[in-house]
Amino acid sequence: MNDIRRDDAMLTDWREAAGRFERSVASAVVGQDRAIRLITIAIFARGHVLLEGDVGVGKTTLLRAVARALGGAYERVEGTVDMMPTDLVYHTYLADDGRPRVEPGPVLRQAEDLSIFFFNEINRARPQVHALLLRLMAERTLTAFDREYRFPNLQVFADRNRVEREETFELPAAARDRFLMEIGMEAPSDAQARRALVFDPRFHDTDALIAGIDGAVLDHAAIAGIGAAIQHGIQASPAIETYVVALWEALVRPGPAGIRLPGIDMAALIQGGASPRGLAMLVRAAKVRAWLEGRDWLVPEDIRAVFPEVMAHRVFLEPVYEMRRAGIVPALCRAVFDTVPAP
């Protein structure tokens, strides 16, 4: 009983800390409350995040702000077409004495203290690099210099430019599945925020803007523990279990679930995806959302709030519909929630 009380108090304290974290990031990144909330959820669900959006909507700024507010060691690489997996792991150079040296690269440099690994323009890197990320993301380990490195606090943030298709490589399905969320970022729609972004000089100097954020609002080393406490502390009732399984079924087999989208053959729409790992991540993220909302049990709204970001990129459409993905998948997600009864 005492344990639970202590846990409750701790969770409440952390919820306040999470609120401070969100406010602190929001002070630098305006009009992106939803993206900030989703990233906060991802941090406490211990999941990796892929940001997607147009050029200049603030993807990188958001991730830098998050890294600053989260504290901990931070590494950043830029995806390029000639990048090789070893470039991430090793740093090779000729030293002053003329001898070649091999030293730890970006991933290993901070050793096991690394908390945020920020991969900019991930779709510019080749699939070999994506493959290296698979293990780093799924197991948070890496073998180099003949030993295994562990990164218990590691969180991978990546961003991807949606507009460009030249000299880019689509992420393999396995790599996409390892991202907890794929968050689409749009420029803020609020007129006030738009005006501020364009005319307020504070937003023009990104470095100064990031430096103005309170650093290390959260203790990054403790987040893994608090994440586990959240997963144990938030209850899922049988009704919500039934609901999630019904959502899954409707997403994978929309035809039999009674979902009709105009101009689409529902029987030949979904090729696969929506893995059990994806569903598990959905529930993890939903539990964090319930915790942030101050509840200790899940409600359907928690599932709905994170569903598009967690599930949409795990659904694979038949090739005929793949090009229209950006329109079809959100409509499908909406239809799923309009169809599956809750409770």
Binding site: Q235, W297, P300, E301, A342, P343
Partner: protein, 311 residues
Amino acid sequence: MRRAVSTSLVPLVLASSMAGPVQAQVRAVEVRAPRAFGYMLGDLVRAQVDIVVEDGFAIQAASLPQRGALAYWLDLRDIAVSQADAGDARRVRLDLTYQTFYAALDVRSLEVPGFTVSFVSQGASGATTASARVPAWTFTISPLREILPPAKENPQDYMRPDGRVASLDPRPTLFTGLGFAGLALAAFAGLARDRTWWPFRVRRGRAFAAARRRLRGLGGRPDAAEAYREALLALHRGLDETDGRRVLADDLDRFLDRHPAYRGQAPGLVAFFEASRIAFFGNDTARARGRLARPEIAALAARLARAERTA
């Protein structure tokens, strides 16, 4: 008929064969007509041409006159050819039907133009042709009416009185028309039903009325907690059906925006959603019943059903 005509035919022209070895192949040409007078504007003028030729000669169809206008006042409407043996020769008979359009002002003779018909005989030493000249012949045409009628006081007297026409009974046609109109209407109704046009576009069922009925049906369930959950579910389905989508607790404001008729029930709906959350997802039916008891759910459903009727 033809026989009757032919018996009363009178010969008009008789052209015997001319002397000479070549012409001997056509022995005689005779034109006959029922009469040579008494024709008026638009009458059909029939003529029969008998040509007697040597045995073995056959008529060349291409040499027959063509149907159509022969002159501004004369059409050839029809021509028929028949053949018969006549002793040691062949008799070819042309039945010609002309029509005259000559508007005569007095009685006068008109000449029907003659024509030439060719015959051919296929012999061992090649084909032999012969031609028979059908001569022109005349008939007499008469005017339809007087040219100078006697003066009359009333110009209308020049007109002939209208013939009396028995009035037709329009009712059978009318009834048939009405019958088909009815059939068309029925077919259109079937189409409208198939396409769910108005008035077959079904109104949304009275969802809250159905929820209230379901709530009444739940009456005496032994398991109070289970009955309570089913009561909540009944109202949930009513809300879902009214909105055409699933309404979650957070959607209440948008639901009320879309269906302002229920805005008056907002406090009840808020309490309902809170109780439903606690009952289904908080797993605490007792606390939920404290928030909103069974009778209150029934009362809320009744109020919603009333609002629904005015919506």
